[in-house]
Amino acid sequence: MIAPAATRPAPQASYLRIEGVAKRFAPGVPAAVDGVSLDIAAGEFFALLGPSGCGKTTLLRMLAGFETPDEGRILIDGVDMAGVPPYRRPVNMMFQSYALFPHMTAAANVGFGLKQDGVPAAEREARVAAMLDLVKLARLAGRKPHQLSGGERQRVALARALAQEPKLVLLDEPLAALDRKLREETRFELVRIQQRVGITFLMVTHDQEEAMSMASRIAVMAQGRIVQLGTPQEIYETPANRFVADFIGGVNLFEGRVLRAQGGLLEVECAEAGTTLFVEHGALPAGSAVAVAVRPEKLVLAPPAGAVNRLQGRVRGAAYRGEASTYEVELAGGKLLRVTLVNAARRAPPYGAGEAVALAFAPAAAVVLAP
């Protein structure tokens, strides 16, 4: 969205290396982080994406040094972080609650780490001013956190995390505390700042839209493991499994069985769809149980006659969202589908409840998922 993932250079040398890291908080309970390995390149904006409780925050806290891994290694710029306390790691964190020091001004918060490092006052002041400038808060330098708005506090927290020029900045749900409009503006701002300072960012979020619009690469986590790693586009367009397909955006799933593979197309017998579906996919043995996943915006309403993967249904309801409308369509067999249609023209939604509609999707628009 902001920086097209495809145009960014692919990660080369590993800058942050996570090797088989595991963490279990109590014996007998499932591991919070269960054998995670990752390589992140210098200057990357990386996102750990997953539902709450998937272990992403625990992983982040292990990188900061607040938790110790039970297994595995963490290397930053080639240095093993085992036994290195948080105050000696070249890592700074932006906390979800921001954790600004309430008794200090914005400038003192930003300069806190520099003062701790023994940076001379003149140099420190210049650096704090530059940081506050970067986040456009220079005029509020003398305010205390309680005199700042949520968005301003967020920017102080970011400036504070950048001030010591760490090798790695960890962002724990950086936008979660902001209201929707500010959140969308701040996404662009964060990416702009990251590109300007060139520091490696590792963000944790549960918001797929946030991860996709900001990060150059995403690791989707579930139950302590990485279930898919890739660019936002890879993760959205070719989800590795049902969990990823369902978690990232909406998806319609048709359960079926492979009939045969032919010329790069897979023929899938699907009772739910009431027809045989054709999907672009490599060969699979006949009889394999699969799911065909189609994103709501990739379904076409009122397709031309003779289109492949043509389905018949009835509109159950429509949700008007301004830029697009989402229709709920019930197929003859009772299967419910979601279809998203961009509202390109200024008129009432073209389909009303109860109306019979035909819909279809191109063989290239769907993904086959093994169960």
């Binding site: 948080p86 020091f101 008794h103």
Partner: protein, 292 residues
């Protein structure tokens, strides 16, 4: 009743309380302090006298004159302030780690630890001070134990001196230091300490730069709660301090009960109030500077 009136009515309650139980008694004490001591009931001259020329106000500065001219009073005030100040410092040095420890204890153990801090209040204050006599005596528990262990060969003089007064005050007022400190430290967001560590602070540096400044209001509240009653303390110096310990609370008691000099006792009390208002004002100003 309108909302504004109801609000005023709610606010009026504490004011009414303060006027009835603080301002009125204060004015009565002030009135007595400017009277002359007489033999009779009440043992002081009336404020307004009917004379040959009609009504006239009877004001006497005798008590205050004596207060200013007799070194005994100044010395007693200074002693009391010194005892109270040193005890406050000791309460802080003991109470801070205690409060900090309770805050850091596991959640389920915290209420038990707090209960232990408050537990002494379930026994009468007077009895607990008497108990210290039994502990500190020449043949008391502590001396007997030390003698039996062969650490000392003669009983230490632990009672009837300044040491005993300090022990008594610190022991009695420690909960008043611990509780406000606990309340303050409990509010501290643990993420702030993580942030400090993240920015390069070792644990003790994080304590100095984050925990300590953020607990100042609790320190101030605890210090006032210990210092103010300790200055006027009478029972502890009387029971543990022996005859040579001079504190203003004891002087006040003597003026009132031994000398039956009500005006003098009232003047001592009024002067004590002034002595206490100054440190309170200073601490308030210090705190306002901190939060501004």
């Amino acid at each position: 009743m309108s909302a504004a009136m109801r609000r005023r009515a709610v606010l009026a309650l504490p004011y009414l309380w303060l006027v009835l139980f603080f301002l009125v008694p204060f004015l009565i004490a002030l009135k007595i302090s400017v009277a002359d001591s007489v033999i009779g009931i009440p043992p002081y001259s009336p404020l307004v006298e009917a004379g040959a020329q009609g009504w006239h106000l009877h004001l006497s500065a005798d008590s205050y004159d004596r207060l200013a001219s007799d070194d005994l009073y100044a010395l007693a005030y200074l002693n009391a302030v010194e005892f109270a100040a040193v005890s406050t410092v000791f309460c802080l040095l003991l109470g801070y780690p205690l409060a900090y420890g309770i805050v850091r204890a596991p959640q389920r153990r915290r209420s038990l630890l707090l209960l232990l801090v408050i537990l002494p209040f379930w026994t009468s204050f007077l009895i607990r001070v008497y108990a210290w006599i039994g502990l500190l005596n020449g043949n008391g528990v502590i001396n007997s134990a030390l003698l039996a262990l062969g650490i000392i060969h003669q009983p230490l003089s632990l009672l009837n001196n300044a040491f005993a007064v300090y022990v008594g005050i610190v022991y009695s007022y420690l909960p008043f230091m611990v509780l406000p400190l606990y309340a303050q430290l409990e509010k501290l967001d643990p993420a702030l300490l993580e942030a400090a560590a993240d920015l390069g602070c070792r644990p003790w540096q994080a304590f100095c730069r984050v925990t300590l400044p953020l607990s100042l209001p609790g320190i101030a509240a605890g210090a006032l709660l210990v210092f103010i009653p300790a200055v006027g303390e009478f029972v502890i110096p009387d029971l543990l301090g022996g005859p040579n310990t001079l504190m203003i609370g004891k002087v006040l008691w003597d003026e009132f009960f031994a000398n039956h000099d009500w005006p003098m006792a009232a003047a001592v009390a009024i002067a004590m109030l002034v002595v206490l208002v100054v440190p309170m004002g200073l601490i308030r100003r210090l705190l306002q500077g901190e939060t501004a």
